[in-house]
């Protein structure tokens, strides 16, 4: 599909151009989500996009679906409610690293634990963009933030490992640079029956980039290109060779009972008296 056709079909054209800064990765990821949705068979009118608060969480405002722009950290709680009430809907969550791993961290582990059928795309730009560059739980240790003028001493989460350990059944990571791979990973996540989690390492040139000596968005994409290692290639590398690098690709996939399906068979059917 041409870019114009994609935009006409899946974007609220009257809301464009978007307000994100030049070179911000949010637009690349939003484009990938749209392309991934286009690859699947889900009905556009039965797809709901939910977000929290942050620059990244503004994405649904530009997308021509039923959308919910909720409160900071609570996107997964709202999305759980939507999916629980209407399991027939395809529910997608777009969230920032702060939104999802700091204030929303508890919602994240419990949504993963339940294996509820949501597709979560985390825009990990390593920072709180909207509020001016405070560090988040995903800010790499020793990098700079408005709240870490000497470098952050906090160790950052590996959010993919966290979600897998909590019970998420599809876990993948990509970057804004690897946009083609990203589209495919999101499409696979959308088709996965269960909790699908895709972390996207992306760039905030305005607050993370400036403070961490990236002269331009292009330099931030080059960093992604140089530090991301595909799962297969990583298998041949030593821990020393992997130091400072991160994995991209499908990291985990398993089949497990899905929450709303179990609710139907183990609660609703019993309450109706179909079985006891």
């Amino acid at each position: 599909m041409s870019v114009k056709d994609l935009v006409d079909r899946y974007c609220r054209v009257d809301k464009l151009p978007h307000i994100w800064c030049p070179g911000c990765g949010n637009g690349i990821i939003m484009g990938a989500v749209i392309r991934a949705l286009d690859k699947t068979d889900f009905d556009q009118d039965k797809t709901v996009i939910v977000s929290g608060i942050g620059c990244s969480s503004r994405a649904p405002g530009y997308m021509n679906f039923d959308t919910l722009h909720t409160t900071h950290g609570r996107a997964l709680a709202y999305a759980t409610g939507v999916k629980f009430a209407r399991p027939d809907l395809n529910v997608v969550v777009l969230t920032g690293d702060g939104d999802c791993s700091a204030i929303g961290g508890n919602h994240l582990i419990h949504a993963a634990r339940r294996n509820i059928d949501l597709t979560v795309v985390v825009f990990n730009n390593s920072i709180y963009g909207m509020t001016g560059g405070q560090f988040s739980p995903l800010t790499p240790a020793h990098s700079y933030a408005s709240t870490a003028p000497y470098g952050s001493i906090d160790r950052n989460f590996d959010l993919c490992k966290l979600v897998q350990a909590a019970g998420g059944t599809y876990v993948a990571r990509s970057t804004a640079y690897h946009a083609r791979q990203l589209v495919n990973l999101i499409a696979t996540g959308l088709n996965h029956k269960g909790f699908a989690f895709i972390e996207v390492v992306t760039q905030c040139p305005m607050y993370y980039g400036r403070r961490n000596k990236f002269p331009s968005p292009v330099d931030m994409l080059k960093w992604q290109q140089e530090h991301a290692v595909p799962v297969k290639a990583a298998a041949k590398l030593s821990p020393e060779q992997m130091a400072g690098k991160f994995l991209i690709g499908e990291l985990h996939r398993e089949e497990a009972p899905e929450y709303t399906a179990v609710y139907e068979t183990d609660v609703i059917a019993k309450a109706r008296g179909d079985i006891n």
């Binding site: 870019v3 151009p17 949010n26 392309r35 292009v218």
Partner: protein
């Protein structure tokens, strides 16, 4: 492959001149204008790989197809 040079269209209103499409075009089709926006210098070298479209944060460049704000 199509022997006609690719028609690459830019949406002038949406493009923010970030330079991403220019820097990562594998065929060096695009060069930067003074305002940082892309100028199609070598359309005949374009392989229609689509990477500029995928990586443009502003949905502002298209290869072969129509574009918002484009001439067609």
């Amino acid at each position: 492959m199509n022997s006609e040079p690719a028609r690459i269209e830019l949406n002038e209103k949406w493009c923010k001149g970030c330079g991403i499409c220019i820097a990562f075009c594998p065929a060096k089709v695009l060069v930067a204008r003074e305002d940082g926006k892309p100028l199609v210098e070598n359309p005949e070298a374009c392989t229609r790989c689509g990477l500029c479209e995928l990586r443009c944060p502003d949905l502002a460049i298209s290869v072969g197809g129509k574009q918002h704000g484009g001439k067609n």
